[in-house]
């Protein structure tokens, strides 16, 4: 079950909202939310529910043990072992197949392979589990003695499958005490519908352009494919995040934004403050800062950046393309810190935005490719190396057909729609609310028309 499926929109979501609002007692409210969350998870993969329960129980017990240990050395060991088991689970599911295939390709270790599908949301909920252990170990939050509360933190359906990776200490107050406010629900509805529109009206349509152009070998075709993917990935994941954050408001959860107009960033560093913010924060708080962050010598700073970005690349998947993609950003961030910042500060903002977008766009070529050779071939086609033509009839046809969509998508990447909404609210006073409600209602019906016509695609980040 995904957020864009009719069964979620018309059966699951209304049912969980109604049941949750009928209950006033907090433990029962959490129990209702947990049962619905487990049902949501089991719908996609009943077998993987066992792993989700095992991880939750593991961190629950680890938390209790960490509280008991008074010696700091023992606590450190226990924390390390508890985290190691979680990382091992992630490794076995996500990376072992890749490692074995490397040996296999070298003619070694021929007799073993792993046949396991990736459990839904494993990278996201393992990172949530690690966040709990780290918060307890670093005493950012107390040990959770209520298993139900901890289970809600890990399994809550609004974030279990694709994030956002909300840190435990941020979510804890709302797990223990929250109230459903009408105003929050109203804002939540708007954010949910905005996310739905980003996904169904933009991302899913851009995916058609991407899949049509991804094998085109002309220069124009290669550029169209890369642009379509950059935009699709943004509207897909930011759309999902808006839906998750919006629906969470119904249950009294206030999650921070996961995207902040990333394609208007004026440097690579700025981009990563705006893209997948919850993941960047996770790496910053639990890896980068404990390593010393930027308050260390130059060599250690370079080491820290390389480690964090190598891990960010690896987190996204077991493929050389993700490793190269992570290191690509590490190099750009180091270049910006040591050389480029002098120039970027003097350039006009629009030039900086263009420069950042080009770097990001090239980065997504590695991200989307099946292999390094495919990524390099696509990059080659973009600059005319190995391309069959500057533009062929197919690429020209798709450019002409999809130009309006590309323009609307480009505008939607900026603050323009948000500013328009603010303008409506301030200028039209009484008329603004029914007008906005009408606009959102039209968007909703448009989305429904596309969902029921089966053009809706699955979310890209499910793969991670």
């Amino acid at each position: 079950m995904t957020f864009t499926q009719p069964i979620f929109l018309f059966a699951f979501l209304p049912a969980v909202i109604i049941c949750s609002s009928l209950v006033k007692n907090m433990p029962i409210k959490n129990l209702v939310l947990l049962l619905f969350s487990l049902f949501f998870y089991a719908w996609a993969s009943p077998k993987a529910l066992f792993l989700l329960a095992l991880v939750t129980l593991w961190i629950y017990l680890s938390g209790l043990q960490l509280e008991k240990e008074s010696s700091s050395k023992k606590r450190k060991w226990y924390f390390g072992l508890s985290c190691a088991f979680l990382v091992l689970i992630l490794f076995l599911y996500k990376y072992l197949g890749f490692i074995l295939s490397l040996f296999h390709n070298q003619g070694l270790l021929l007799s073993l392979q792993v046949e396991s599908s990736l459990p839904l949301g494993i990278s996201f909920y393992i990172f949530s589990a690690l966040s709990y252990l780290a918060d307890v170990y670093m005493e950012k939050a107390p040990v959770q003695k209520n298993f139900l509360n901890l289970s809600v933190y890990i399994a809550y359906f609004g974030k279990v499958s694709m994030g956002p990776i909300v840190q435990y200490h941020d979510m804890l107050p709302a797990i223990e005490e929250r109230k459903n406010k009408r105003q929050a629900s109203g804002l939540g509805t708007m954010q949910f519908l905005k996310g739905l529109a980003m996904k169904v009206l933009l991302a899913d349509q851009l995916s058609i352009l991407y899949s049509s152009m991804s094998s085109d070998t002309s220069v124009l075709g290669a550029w169209l494919a890369s642009l379509a993917y950059s935009l699709q990935l943004y509207f897909d994941f930011a759309g999902y995040s808006n839906m998750a954050i919006g629906l969470s408001k119904f249950f009294g959860f206030e999650f921070a934004a996961n995207f902040d107009y990333p394609y208007t960033a004026n440097s690579v560093q700025d981009f990563w403050r705006r893209w997948h913010i919850s993941l960047s924060r996770w790496f910053r708080d639990y890896i980068y800062i404990p390593l010393g962050g930027s308050r260390v010598g130059t060599l250690k700073y370079i080491r820290n950046i390389l480690i964090v970005w190598l891990l960010t690349g690896i987190w996204h998947g077991a493929n050389w393309t993700f490793i190269v993609w992570g290191l690509y950003y590490a190099l750009w961030l180091l270049a910006e810190r040591f050389f480029l910042h002098k120039y970027t500060q003097t350039l006009p903002r629009s030039v900086c935005i263009f420069y950042t977008f080009m770097i990001v766009n090239i980065g997504w070529v590695f991200f989307s490719a099946d292999s390094l050779s495919a990524a390099l071939a696509s990059l080659g086609h973009m600059i005319g190396i190995g391309s069959t033509a500057l533009a062929n009839t197919s690429a020209l046809f798709y450019l002409k057909t999809y130009l309006p969509l590309l323009l609307i998508s480009a505008i939607a990447c900026t603050h323009l729609f948000h500013d328009f909404k603010t303008l409506l609210l301030t200028r039209l006073n009484n008329l603004s609310v029914p007008l906005l409600a009408g606009i959102y209602l039209i968007l909703f019906f448009l989305c429904l028309a596309l969902i029921t016509s089966s053009t809706s695609q699955t979310f890209l980040y499910f793969a991670f």
Binding site: L54, Q65, K68, S111, Q113
Partner: protein, 211 residues
């Protein structure tokens, strides 16, 4: 108020039980040197449980995970050096020659959207009769990474055949449902036939000869 006739008796019984308990306590085989150390020794079993209870439970969780994950490991069969012609001959020996004439590469593209040049060897056996679901594909990979894609393509074919025949030829749909796909080292075999299991056995035996 009526006095309770058992009250005194009950009180006596309580005192007596306390006395029995006291006298029946086992004697400590070790002499007491000082009080606090002795009480620590007496409560040791409880402390062990308290101290190691959580790690023991967690060890159980690790074991549970091992059993849960273990089936994911599969052993890869090594490549076979059996000649493609020999494996094909072994299959054709058990197959009805009328039902399974060899098709050309164009048919392979038309029916499966497969390019013969992608594989070291590939053969497609089927009648031109559209009313028959029976068909065979035997392939030898040049690279074992091709196996997953091949399996997917064959599975798609099975699904589409089931859909095609379900409406008007239920027995052919049944054949398609019982179709088998097997990857064995550098060989793979797709079979949709009355005697699919028998053909599969012949395939396995012929491939095994090359190991």
């Amino acid at each position: 108020m009526i006095p309770n006739p058992f009250k005194d008796k009950a009180g006596l019984l309580k005192d007596k039980m306390a006395e029995v308990k006291k006298t029946n306590l086992p004697k400590n085989p070790f002499p007491i040197k000082n009080g606090p150390e002795d009480t620590q020794n007496l409560s040791q079993p409880k402390n062990i449980l308290q101290k190691y209870g959580i790690p023991v439970l967690q060890a159980g969780l690790v074991l549970a995970f091992v059993f849960y994950f273990k089936p994911s490991f599969q052993s890869i069969k090594p490549d076979s050096s059996a000649a493609f012609e020999d494996v094909l001959a072994a299959i054709e020996e058990k197959a009805d020659a009328e039902l399974f004439p060899a098709q050309d590469e164009q048919a392979l593209r038309r029916y499966f959207d497969l390019d013969a040049s992608d594989y070291e060897n590939i053969v497609f056996l089927r009648q031109d009769d559209a009313l028959s679901a029976s068909e065979i594909v035997l392939v030898r990979f040049s690279n074992n990474d091709e196996a997953d894609q091949f399996q997917e393509t064959m599975q798609e074919r099975i699904n589409s055949q089931i859909q095609v025949y379900e409406g008007y030829a239920p027995e052919q749909a049944g054949l398609a449902k019982a179709a088998q796909i097997e990857v064995n080292g550098n060989y793979a075999f797709y079979v949709c036939a009355d005697n699919a299991s028998e053909l599969l056995q012949s395939f396995d035996a012929a491939v095994e000869k090359g190991r």
